[in-house]
Symmetry: C2
Subunit: 121 residues, 2 copies
DNA sequence: GCAATACTTAAGTCGATGCTTAAGCAATAT
DNA sequence: ATATTGCTTAAGCATCGACTTAAGTATTGC
């Protein structure tokens, strides 16, 4: 029975933070179609190269992307394990909640709404 | 064939941003064990009530949490659909990448490393 | 009515983020 | 050898984010 690697809170922070930016998600997207150099990653993004490199650092810090430099070209690849970590975090909560629904019965189903006011101010 | 709801980029931004904070994840965690009031959510967190309310706003904006006010108590619940959206986003990229691995062959497996220097400066 | 409860709003602090431009610098190409 | 390419580093800047305290406002309990 191999015990699965349990991510510390900080890891999850970095992971979701990395995924919270559209440019970084675009970079991940691109990399799921195969490895790419920094300038290839930069081409579709409307920002300077240094900005892209900064995003790349965030992605590498999160473990989502790895890169290696050969000559003057840095080649980047996705790390599917990191994606799996994020996926698992979510899946655990979601299924737990869905199981809870059974245990709790229909907490909101009993037409509690009728006596309640809407939350949006 | 029901076409699944496709989240816009902004939605995904809000979702992952909401999940990128440990206090907010703790709140989601708590809510997967059942509904809770704002002060119940606040109790285990070492911060002021207004801070918790701000986190709650972020969670509601992301769609992860809903809340309703009855009398002077606001009751919060998780919204598993939002969790599913995030999960799906990740799963799509991960499986795409894993399929790519087949198409690309072992891009890095051919002992390219032997001639390469490490990326970390 | 009066106090306590459960938020709610407002304002301010301060460090982190997401850019930018300007200069490097090592690895090719000519 | 010199120029071009492909990053890399540094500095600066404006905005955002995660808090805080102080001062409300409705409910509810006594």
């Amino acid at each position: 029975m191999l015990k699965q690697y349990e991510p510390v809170e900080r890891d999850v922070d970095l992971l979701f933070h990395a995924l919270a930016d559209p440019s970084r998600r675009a970079m991940v997207d691109r990399l799921t179609r195969g490895p790419a150099s920094v300038s290839e990653l930069a081409r579709p993004l409307e920002m300077s190269l240094p900005a892209v490199v900064q995003h790349l650092h965030v992605l590498e810090a999160s473990g989502l992307v790895r890169s290696q430099k050969l000559g003057r070209v840095r080649t980047c690849t996705v790390e599917p394990d990191a994606l799996r970590t994020a996926e698992r975090w979510i899946a655990q909560r979601r299924t737990f909640w869905e199981q809870s629904l059974d245990r709790l019965g229909e907490y909101l189903a009993g037409n509690h709404e009728s006596a309640q006011q809407r939350s949006e101010q």
